[in-house]
Each structure stands twice: as C-alpha cells, then as structure tokens.
C-alpha cells in the first residue's frame, strides 16, 4: 500500500489547529499581570492556526480513515517536530527566547514533558508566554496518555498489551474509531487529576496562575515551574501535595479506570504498582539516611526532600525542592541511576518503565533457577498471565537500545566539549523526559550553556525517548518507506 501522505498532512493540520487555539489560553493572565506579550501570542496563534486550517481543509474528510499502521508511525513521529517548531513562536515573537534553537528546545521539552530548560531567568518571562510553556506540558501529556494506552500497543509497543483485556483498547483493524472512546476516558481521568491538584494547591494559598502551571507540570510529569528555584520556595504542604500528585501521575492510568469501576483488589494486586512503590520507598529511605547523617538536615526535612526528589525523578517529572548536586555524592549518584528507571507503563512518565525492569528481573531470576533445575519450566508471569516471547524481545530490544543511545548521545555531547557530568546527566534526563540533569544542567542550573548542536541532539533525544525509541528508528529505516 502506498503511503497516504495526504492523510498524514490532514492529521497534522488538526493538531496544529488545536495548538493554535491553546496558545491563546495565556492571554487572560497577560491582561491580569499587564504583560507585553499579548500581541506575540495572538500572532503565534494566528500563524499556527492558519497553517493548520490550510492543511486540514485542503484534503477531503475520507482521508482520515485511511490512516493505517505506517501512516500512524509517521504522524506520531513528525508531530513532535512540527508542533515543536510552531510552538516555539510565542517564545520567539515575544522575545523571551532569542534563538530558534533555544525556543525549539524549550518547546520540545514542553511537549515531550521533559522539563529541561534553557531559560536562565524563568521569572522574567511574561505570564502569557509562561502559561503557554506550562500548557505545552499539559497538551503533551494528553497526547502521551493516549499514545501510551491506545496507540502504541496497537503497533506492538508500550507494554500496555498486557492490559489489553482490562482497558477498552483499540481493536486490531481500525485505528480510528476505538481510539476516540479510550482517549475520552483517559482525558476525563487526566482532567480530574489536574483539577484535584489545582484545588489542593489553592488551599495551600498558591495563586491561581501558579497552581495551574504547576498542576499542568505535575500531571503531565513535565516539570516546568514558574520560579527559578523550582519548588524550593514553597511551603512544605505544597511540596507534599506536588510530590503525591507526581506519584499519581506516574501511575498507570488504566488502574484509575479500574478504580473507577470499583475493582480495588485488582489495583492493589498489580505487580507493577507494587514494584513502582517499592522503587520509590527504598531509595527514599536511603537518601533520607544520607541527608540526615552525612549532611545537616533535620529528620523531617531530610525525609521531605528525599521523598520529593525520588518521586520526581522516578515519575520523570523533574521538579526540585533542593539542589541535589550539593547533597552527599552517593545521594545524587543514586538519583542519576534512578533516571534510568522510568515510571509505570500507561502514565505520562518516560524512561524504560517499571514494567520492563520488573519483567527483566523476573526473567533473570528464572534463568538462574533454570541453571540449577533445567527441567523446571515456568514462564515468567506478570499479574498471573505468562509473558510471551514477543514481549520479552521487545523489552530486551528497548533496554539495549536505550543504553546504546545513552552512550552514543553522551559521547556526542562530550565530543562537542560538554563536560562529563553534563553529558551523562543531560542525555539521561532528556531521554527519560525528566528535566534536571547533573552538574551545571542540574536543578540549580539550566541548559543554556550547551552548544547549539548539543541542544539539537538533546531535543532529538527527548522526542526519541518519548516515542520509546523504536518508532523513530523504524522510520529512519529505508525499507519502511518502500512500496
């Protein structure tokens, strides 16, 4: 079958239209704060929407149903670049960011819900544009949830296939109709979480603007804040609220669907959830101990900062209540390694994801047992169901590719002159969609000093990580485009 380019363009058009409309969302705040960015927002919105409309209306309606698997790959991959390019307009036109490289980086960081920033002074950005920055997170998260639960499994990735029976997912043939149902349900949960957090934050005496921006950043597991110090200046209550909502955002949304249906037991028995919580709890206690004994934190502060940071990194959000680079070294070494964890499957988190780690570990245990008792045949099980070979191969391939990409990415940045900590930390954090890295790109720093070529590499890595690596590699393969 020939590649249906026109269908692809039509879908991209829809996306651009939506993007253009949402750019206007920050205008009320611009008016309220008397900022100068209103015309910038209007113009960006206008340009984006016009291009979107042109693309959408130029092609007949029927083309939408012609989107097959291959077109889907392409749409999902290029959407990030296209949306990223147009999304950079508010930053550029308002002058908040001067170069396209930087603006593109910031926007892609937004849509991929990474949260890495090139801004040296967040607080100097006008409110309308700042709102758009957080909005990119929220929109990105919306897209990602649908991607993770509905779209990617259709292509055989994402790990959600294991939940296929529980969540109304897409059927094997038509991509189009079922996606709508699933997407709608997910968005309800997403919206609910956002609203809940906004309310809780407002109760903590946060301003509406701050509450919205931070909620957008949390539920999307993004990490863009409105202060230069991220979350450090807010009250402990607010820090705990955000910490818990990060934890929620990193959880599999399919489980929320189950909760909604009343299947509590199923939820509590979920192996990935238990593993996820375990991976959060153990490092929290270790780092708490480190902070308390090897540094001068009080017990409750140590726990709060530790808990917040661990949840932040594992859920791939990236908010920070402290600069962990000044913590005892073992603490941030552990944080660095946790960047490779990833949240649960079916959430807005990035990274390798809990389920994959869990299954790999189970498989290794099985290998060790089999060496001693070769006749002991028991397949690795997840939540009771045996794991097929295909899924194991997918997990293995992604893991290896992840490490390889990390190595090559870090070496590339180092080749450009970036330091060791910044290369390792920057690549790990962008691939996992986290945000803060190590060294001068850590929580107290930003990515402004990275050479431009490095910013492009990192932007690419953010998208790569978001799409679970495979999609992009598949598209880059020439045989994909034949026939």
């Amino acid at each position: 079958m020939r590649m249906q380019y026109k269908s692809i363009l039509k879908v991209v058009g829809i996306a651009l239209l939506f993007e253009g409309v949402f750019m206007l969302a920050g205008i009320p705040f611009s008016l309220y704060f008397n900022d100068t960015d209103i015309s910038a927002l209007l113009w960006s919105s206008f340009i984006t929407a016009i291009v979107g409309a042109l693309l959408y209306f130029s092609f007949p309606r029927q083309l939408l149903s012609a989107i097959g698997k291959r077109e889907g790959y392409v749409v999902v991959s290029i959407a990030w670049f296209v949306l990223g390019a147009f999304g950079a307009l508010p930053f550029l036109i308002s002058g908040s960011i001067s170069t396209f490289t930087d603006a593109f980086f910031e926007t892609v960081s937004g849509f991929s819900t990474t949260g890495a920033s090139i801004l040296t002074n967040v607080e100097a950005v006008p409110h309308g544009v700042l709102f758009w920055r957080s909005m990119t997170h929220w929109l990105g998260g919306l897209g990602i949830i649908v991607l993770a639960i509905a779209i990617l499994p259709f292509f055989g990735f994402g790990g959600m296939q294991l939940y296929a029976a529980e969540v109304p997912g897409p059927s094997k043939d038509k991509l189009h109709p079922r996606i709508k149902d699933t997407a709608r349900r997910l968005w309800v949960i997403y919206l609910f979480l956002t609203l809940a957090e906004v309310i809780m934050l407002l109760l903590g005496k946060m301003s509406l603007f701050d509450a919205l921006c931070h909620s957008f950043g949390t539920v999307a597991t993004g990490g863009f804040g409105v202060k230069n110090t991220s979350i450090a200046e807010y009250s402990p209550y607010i820090q705990y609220v955000i910490a818990f909502f990060m934890l929620f955002a990193g959880t599999n949304f399919a489980l929320y669907y189950q909760v909604g249906k009343g299947n509590f037991r199923k939820v509590f028995r979920d192996e990935e959830l238990r593993f996820y919580l375990g991976v959060v709890i153990v490092p929290t206690f270790i780092i708490t101990a480190l902070l308390y004994f090897q540094s001068d934190f009080t017990g409750s502060d140590a726990f709060r900062h530790s808990f917040f940071q661990v949840v932040s990194i594992i859920s791939c959000t990236g908010f920070a209540t402290a600069d962990y680079m000044i913590w005892p070294i073992p603490a941030w070494i552990m944080i660095f390694f946790l960047m490779f964890a990833g949240g649960m499957v079916g959430s807005t988190s990035g990274g390798i994801k809990m389920m994959r780690h869990l299954i790999l570990l189970k498989r290794i245990r099985m290998t060790v047992i089999r060496i001693l008792h070769p006749s002991a045949y028991s397949p690795v099980r997840f939540n009771g169901a045996p794991i097929g070979r295909e899924i194991l191969k997918n997990i293995v391939a992604i893991f290896i590719l992840y490490i390889l990409t990390f190595v090559i990415g870090s070496a590339t940045l180092a080749f450009m002159g970036v330091g060791i900590l910044e290369s390792f930390g920057g690549v790990a954090t962008c691939m996992g969609g986290i945000g803060p890295g190590l060294g001068s790109v850590g929580p107290a720093g930003n990515f402004s000093a990275i050479p431009d070529a490095g910013k492009w590499v990192l932007s690419f890595l953010m998208i790569l990580g978001r799409l679970e690596l495979l999609t992009i590699f598949i598209i880059l393969n020439p045989s994909f485009w034949k026939k």
Binding site: F155, G156, I329, P330, W332, I333, M334, F336, F337, L360, L361, R363, I364, R365, T367, V368, I369, R370, I371, L372, H373, P374, S375, R389, L392, K393, N394, V396, A397, F399, I400, L401, I403, V407, S410, A411, A414, F415, G417, V418, G419, I420, L421, S423, F424, L438, L470, F473, I474, N477, S479, F480
Partner: protein, 439 residues
C-alpha cells in the same frame, strides 16, 4: 619462604575432590576456590612483612589471581624481587586458571539438556581442539605457555629487557593482568617494549584457539571468524573516534599521541590495564566517556579478559537489530546468528540476563563505593575497573587515583567485585538465590 608457600598452595589444589559432584557443589567449589586460593596466595606478602595489613595482602593476592592489576602496595620498591615475581606469577596462574576451569567444567555440567551459562561459551567460536576435555585443557595450557615464551623471548632479544622484568611483564600481559612497578604506568619503558606489550595484549585478548590457529599458520580461519572481526572493530573504531576528537581539540597531529591512544585502547579492551598517561587525554570529557564505556566491553571468551565479552556483544546487538526488522516485516523470520549458527532463544535470554546483572552489580558497586567518600567519576570508574578486571586502567580516568589510599570498606567491595566479575557473576547469583540452598 616462598617455596614453602607455593608448596602449601599446590597441596591445597591437589586436595580438591574431583569425583562426581552435583552441579551445586560444582558452583560452590568454583566460588570457594576463588576465595581460598587467593587467601593462600596472600601469605607470602604477610610472612615477609612487606605488607603489614592482612586485608591489603589478600587484596593484592585477589587482584593477582583475578588478573585485575590494582595494587595497594605503597611504593613497589619495598617489595623484594621474590615478591614482585610472586605477584606476577599469580596473575599468570589466574589467567590460565580461569580458562581451564571453564573448559573443564563444560562437559561436567552438560547433563542432557543442562542449560548452564558455561554452555554458552561452548557455542561461541569453540571448535574442539582435542576430543577429550583434559586434552583440550592441556592444549590450551601449552598454547598459553608457548605464547608467553614467545613474548618473553621477544622482550629479551628485541627490547633488550633483563630476564627478570621480561618475565614479570610477560606474566602480566599474557594473563591480561596489569601489575607493574608503577601502578600500571609503563610510559617509562622503551618503545620496543611498549610495542611488544601492545601486540601481546591484543593477542591475549584474542581467543586462545585463535592463537593456536595462528601458530599453525592457519590465518584464514582466524580472519574469517566473526568474533575476531568484531574484536578488531571495537579496537579500531574507538581509536579512530578518539584520535579524531583529540587532534581536533588540540589542533595538531602527533604520532606519539596516536601510539598512546592505540596502546591504551588495546589495554582497556583486553582488560589488561597498562596505560600510557598524558595530559591531553585528561582534559577531554569525550576521552573519559569513551574509555569508561569501553571498560564494560571486554574481549573474546576463552581469553583471560573480563567484561561482557565479544560474543555477547554480537548477540545482543544482532538480537536488537533483528527485533526491529521483525517489527517492520511482521511476516519475516530473522534468526540471530553467530558464526553462521543460530543462537537459540534460551541462550539469547541468558546473555541478556548476564548483561543486566553486570550493570546491576556495577551500579550497586558504584553506589557503595561512593558512600566512602569517592566522587562520581572515581566511584563509577573504580566499580567498572574492578568488575571488568581492568585494574590499573582506572588511571586513565582518574589520574590521581591511589589504590593504597582507599578506605578499607572500599577495598572489601573492590575485592568482591573482582571475584564476582572474574566468575562472570552467575555463581554469585546462584549462591544468593534461595533455590540453591534448598534440598
């Protein structure tokens, strides 16, 4: 004194029961042997009072047998000639020891469909050198010895080294160990010595079987072999990249730097650990990251090098690539092959398991090391140098590293990592798993 110690050591080895044992016992033997033998090996150091601290003595001994190369001795000149010789020879023994252990145990474990990790090695480039196991072992030992003799001769004849140093460097190189008089730094040696050492590091990292074929002038067989080609590539490619980056950065071209880079890369890949240090490397983060990652790799199986090993690298890479292909063409079949033979799924999964365990042990090791005050770079590089048994190559990453100054806790951790890495991790996972002790 020395001979007494060697004597008691040999006695111990002869006492090893070699009759029929279960698999469990087999693993226990391997693990215990690798702890007990070095313990005996440390006695010479203690008895001659050259190393006062028993922990240090054991460390030095383990470092020798595991062919690591890290040394906790203060100033090497305080060790008498006897001890320096002893230190070198235990590397040599350790080097061939691990190879022979593995070869001898393969059929031992091959009961029907036994899926043992050692079994994997059999499936790589191994043809049988000899119909019986002990015959193969004897052949291997003779190849090992022959190679050593050749190197020894070359060092004396061409490099004009005195026989004592020639012997020590031979033992250190052929076993891919890396003990030397200056904590691994051999910049002070003559050019010809350095090149001979480089050549034999490369050879030592090659499959011993290949050496056999080379000696039989059957070079074709070696060059066609996939593992050999891959091994050559993982040396040439990094050399090329590092050379590009270094010369681009310092804006000039220099043959001696090129030589240094080649030497160091061969050393790291063969997990020997000798290094030629120079300032222009230390300045570059690209150098650090590349060398650091190379430390994980390791050379071919059936050599005394550590790391992940070439055959595993090949299988992991090909398995991933084939997975992509199968996603693109769902109806195609893409079996992963090594040297023309298909790699069965269980073996692929075992290889993957090893890779992940290696990383896991590395991560935990690095974390524990950092608890004792070492920085990010030092902790990570020490962990991998211990696990891959690179040893002194750590000086390529942290030029100020002094093994002697390590906290005693770290010395313990490093010793454990050395043994775990030498035994390819699995025996330790065995011991840690509950199933092992049941029944």
């Amino acid at each position: 004194m020395l001979t007494l110690m060697i004597g008691s050591l040999l006695l111990f080895i002869k006492r090893d029961p070699n009759d029929s044992l279960s698999k469990r016992d087999g693993f226990l033997i391997i693990a215990l042997a690798w702890v007990v033998v070095p313990l005996f090996g440390s006695l010479p150091f203690l008895f001659t009072d050259a190393i006062h601290n028993p922990l240090d003595a054991v460390f030095e001994s383990i470092s020798g047998f595991a062919t690591n190369g890290l040394s906790v001795v203060d100033a090497d000149t305080s060790l008498g000639f006897g001890l320096i010789f002893w230190r070198s020879i235990i590397q040599w023994i350790g080097g061939i020891g691990i190879i022979v252990f593995i070869i001898s145990f393969i059929p031992f474990f091959r009961t029907g469909q036994a899926q043992v990790f050692l079994y994997d090695m059999q499936d790589s480039s191994f043809d049988k050198l000899h119909p019986t196991v002990s015959g193969t072992a004897r052949r291997l030992i003779s190849i090992y010895t022959a190679t050593s003799l050749i190197m020894f001769a070359l060092l004396i004849l061409i490099a004009k080294m005195d026989w004592f140093n020639a012997a020590c460097y031979t033992f250190s190189t052929i076993s891919t160990g890396g003990f030397s008089l200056d904590q691994g730094n051999i910049s002070a040696l003559s050019h010809s010595s350095i090149w001979i050492i480089a050549l034999f590091m490369f050879v030592a990292g090659t499959n011993l079987y290949f050496v056999y074929y080379i000696l039989k002038i059957n070079i074709r067989k070696v060059l066609d072999n996939e593992e050999f080609k891959w091994y050559a590539m993982i040396i040439l490619l990094p050399v090329f990249l590092i050379v590009s980056e270094t010369f681009y950065r310092i804006n000039s071209f220099n043959f001696s730097i090129l030589g240094d880079i080649v030497f160091n890369v061969i050393s790291v890949i063969s997990t020997t650990g000798f290094y030629i240090g120079d300032a222009e490397f230390v300045a570059s983060s690209f150098w650090w990251i590349t060398i650091f990652c190379l430390m994980f790799l390791g050379s071919t199986a059936a050599s005394s090098s550590g790391g992940i090993n070439v055959y595993r690298q090949i299988v992991l890479w090909r398995a991933s690539v084939n997975y992509f292909k199968s996603v693109l063409h769902p109806n195609g079949i893409f079996p992963t092959k090594l040297n023309g033979k298909v790699v069965p799924d269980p073996m692929q999964l075992r290889i993957m398991g090893f890779f992940i365990l290696f990383l896991l042990v590395f991560v935990i090791g690095a974390f524990i090391i950092s608890l004792n005050g070492l920085g990010f770079q030092e902790s990570l590089s020490l962990s991998v140098c211990a696990l891959s048994n690179n040893g002194n190559a750590i000086h390529l990453l942290s030029s100020a590293f002094d093994a002697n100054a390590m906290h005693w806790g770290n010395k313990l951790v490093v010793m454990m990592l050395m043994i775990i890495g030498r035994l390819e991790i699995i025996p330790f996972m065995m011991i840690l798993s509950r199933t092992f002790w049941r029944r």
